[in-house]
């Protein structure tokens, strides 16, 4: 079991739903990295924004762009991740563009919503297969889409629009009721 699962278990044991931050704090990053300029580049951000919006699109509730998930990913990558992981992400963005070019002769940001979804669906399959590979090594690199998906979900569901519109957020519950009725369609608690 990896560290993420370990903490998930601990959080579960403590009787609390896993907090976004606990979950986010799981991947070790041990050394300080200088600001990565490629990460700050406008084209990086716009690609990230489109990817995040494809993972979490605007529906009846705001999408990842409205929650500024692209800014969040850049901040997190810069401040909390090692340089080698930042590079994995940047190389990953290139791979996404390569896949888009190969299939549709366009950069990812220029694809239609359906095409974007198709590209990322394939990449996500690849990610899950990679995560389930046999003979995992301790120092194997993380799949780039793991970073993207993880930070997109964290950034979105813990953002104000994500927590208060896509989910239900009550800052001060004031009481605990252990058993309340739930019907399909009711939103989950944000925290």
């Amino acid at each position: 079991m990896n560290r993420r699962d370990a903490i998930k278990n601990v959080a579960l044991l403590l009787g609390s739903a896993i907090s976004a931050s606990t979950l986010a704090a799981l991947d070790g990053c041990t050394s300080s990295a200088p600001k990565n300029y490629a990460l700050q580049a406008p084209e990086t951000k716009s690609t990230l924004a489109e990817i995040a919006e494809t993972i979490i699109p605007e529906t009846g509730t705001p999408g990842a762009k409205a929650a500024k998930v692209d800014d969040f990913i850049v901040t997190m990558m810069n401040d909390c991740y090692e340089q080698k992981d930042q590079q994995i992400l940047l190389d990953g963005l290139k791979k996404i563009d390569e896949a888009s070019n190969k299939q549709y002769k366009k950069a990812f940001v220029d694809l239609t919503a359906e095409q974007k979804t198709a590209i990322l669906t394939e990449i996500d399959k690849e990610r899950v297969a990679y995560n389930k590979r046999e003979n995992k090594g301790k120092d194997d690199p993380t799949h780039y889409f793991q970073f993207i998906k993880e930070l997109t979900l964290l950034g979105y569901f813990s953002s104000e629009p994500g927590a208060t519109k896509a989910l239900r957020y009550v800052a001060v519950p004031g009481k605990f009721e252990g058993c309340v009725p739930y019907k399909k369609g009711d939103k989950a608690w944000a925290v």
Binding site: L13, S21, D124, Y169
Partner: protein, 565 residues
């Protein structure tokens, strides 16, 4: 000369309390309420109740890194960064490792705060009584030394501290986990209630109860009952859990007898060879690095287990060349912590039309049942479980495959119920588990540092198998599906239940403290935090420190009045 006498008078109190955490706060409250002028010292920065809980009412999106620690913070906190308690949510409460290093022969995770109130602000708040099964364990097993006290000695003091601190919980009538003065227990959720029913039907010796926790469920003077935000470790603006700031400090201040001095690093205790007792403490100002002496008739050492032992070790005199009160040579030895991070979890079906409201900062508890009565295992002592049930949230989407509208919509609803149980096991007191003073490294104030050499051994390893397998067995009995077991390994220090190193005992030749937490050979010095523990039991220890502290103060003041101190 005149000036010196005046300065000395100004720096003289009836009692000095070193440390302001769970036990130090209690010492200050009890001493001041008995009319003594008290100086409470803490190396941490000031932290005013409510006002200084900067992050307590922040929403998740107000944290730029959503709780996560930055690369820069990791550089200055090379030890604290190892695990989750050091977080963006309460970053400023923790000590900067780089200023206060320590050495490890074996890995030891030492969580040190840097605030007045100490770890009483960030503690886990689980509050359980010890029983005679615990106090008699060393004697029965022929291990280490016997506790100089029994349950009857401490029981009235448990009553006393529980009533003031406010502990919510359920009475169960179990000999191994005595009931206390409880406020109403927090409720279980539907799945926990059902699991309890099924497990207790299958295993007659096992009980599932609500965690006994120092979060109040009814108001107390100056404190509001728990609001179920589950943000305790940021400091509670409602004063809903016991901390120095919410509870003991206001009481001590109300007497008008308290002087609190933050940013004060206690370097050592001054021992007067002629008088045959301690006369005061040497304190380094954290900012100016200036050393000042303070004097008192009684000294309470409450600097947290290893902080207290450091002060004793660093207090060298002609009479005590190996540390204050260390005639026995056991100072620094028999370091203990609970071992944990093993258990099982599984999903529970049939409750999809149920949910919960509010965030309960507490879980369920399974009291120890191993090696009790006729149960005999291939290891000594036992363990308890903490756990709980909840429905999964959006986090499940990280592992799952999917992008786009349907994926998003699915994640906005709660997922399956799961139930987890994680064991907390007793660690035996081993002589070789110890800290020593290391003069080869100095902290930012020129003091030596501690060197840790502690581990878990065969008894703990054997116990962990039961901790894991029993959890799975109970979940199976409860009808859980997809049960998986885990053992993530446990390093000493991680449970933040470090105990021992200045143990109580009956014989001055083999212990540092007597049955009143009084240093055998220095009658006016008392150590009432985790350092005093002779064995570790398997329950969370803070409540016991509270009770021992109140009891020791009562004794100390009586002795002082009799002229014995």
């Amino acid at each position: 000369m005149n000036l010196n006498i005046k300065a000395q008078e100004q720096n003289t109190y009836d009692a000095i309390v070193i440390g302001s955490g769970v036990s130090g706060g209690w010492a200050a409250k009890e001493l001041t309420e008995k009319g003594l002028k008290v100086l409470m010292l803490d190396r941490g920065k000031p932290l005013e109740h409510v006002k200084d809980y900067d992050t307590a009412t922040k929403d998740p999106w107000e944290f730029a890194h959503r709780g996560r620690i930055t690369n820069e913070q990791k550089e200055t906190h090379p030890k604290l960064k190892r695990d989750y308690p050091y977080s963006e949510h309460n970053e400023k409460f923790w000590i900067k490792d780089s200023d206060s290093p320590y050495n490890e022969v074996k890995r030891f995770d030492w969580y040190r705060p840097d605030i007045v109130g100490g770890k009483s602000i960030m503690w886990g708040r689980q509050s359980y009584r010890w029983s005679d099964i615990d106090f008699e364990a060393n004697l029965k097993d022929g291990i280490a030394v016997d506790w100089p006290i029994r349950y009857k000695d401490i029981a009235p003091w448990y009553d006393y501290v529980e009533t003031f601190a406010g502990i919510s919980g359920q009475a169960e009538g179990l000999p191994q986990l005595p009931d206390g003065k409880f406020m109403p227990a927090m409720p279980m959720n539907c799945v926990e209630t059902e699991v309890k029913k099924r497990v207790e039907a299958k295993f007659k010796d096992r009980r599932i109860t609500m965690g006994r926790v120092a979060n109040i469920t009814q108001p107390l003077p100056g404190r509001t009952q728990c609001q179920f935000r589950n943000l305790c470790s940021r400091g509670c603006p409602f004063g809903a859990y016991f901390s120095t700031q919410s509870s003991t400090l206001p009481a001590a201040r109300a007497t008008g007898n308290l002087t609190l001095r933050p940013d004060s690093i206690v370097n050592s205790i001054i021992y007067d060879d002629a008088k045959g007792k301690a006369t005061g403490v040497k304190v380094i100002d954290k900012h100016t690095k200036e050393m000042t002496e303070y004097y008192a008739k009684i000294i309470f050492v409450n600097g947290s287990t290893l902080g207290s032992t450091f002060v004793l070790m660093n207090s060298i005199s002609k009479r005590f060349p190996n540390g204050l009160g260390n005639d026995s040579g056991v100072l620094g030895k028999y370091l203990m912590d609970h071992h944990f991070r093993t258990g099982a979890s599984g999903t529970v079906e049939g409750f999809d039309d149920h949910y919960y409201f509010g965030r309960r900062a507490n879980g369920i508890y399974v009291p120890r049942y191993r090696n009790i009565g006729s149960d005999k295992r291939d290891y000594l002592r036992g363990f308890g479980y903490q756990g709980g049930a909840s429905r999964s949230g959006w986090q499940r989407g990280i592992a799952e495959m999917g992008v786009g509208k349907d994926f998003k919509e699915a994640l906005t609803e709660p997922g399956t119920w799961s139930m987890g149980l994680g064991g907390f096991g007793e660690c035996l007191p081993y002589e070789q588990n110890q800290v020593t003073l290391d003069n080869s490294v100095k902290d930012a104030w020129g003091q030596p540092v501690l060197k840790f050499d502690a581990g878990f051994f065969e008894n703990e390893t054997k116990m962990r198998k039961d901790m894991m397998n029993d959890a799975a067995e109970m979940l199976e009995a409860a009808g859980a599906k997809d049960i998986h077991t885990f053992d993530n390994g446990s390093y000493p220090g991680m449970a933040i239940h470090e105990m021992g190193t200045a143990r109580m005992g009956r014989d001055p030749k083999t212990s540092v403290l007597n049955g009143w937490n009084q240093v055998h050979s220095v009658k006016n010095v008392f150590v009432t935090d985790g350092a005093c523990m002779t064995s570790a039991a398997c329950v969370n220890p803070s409540l016991t420190y509270m009770a021992l502290t109140a009891r020791a103060v009562d004794y100390a003041v009586k002795e002082m009045k009799k002229g014995n101190i």
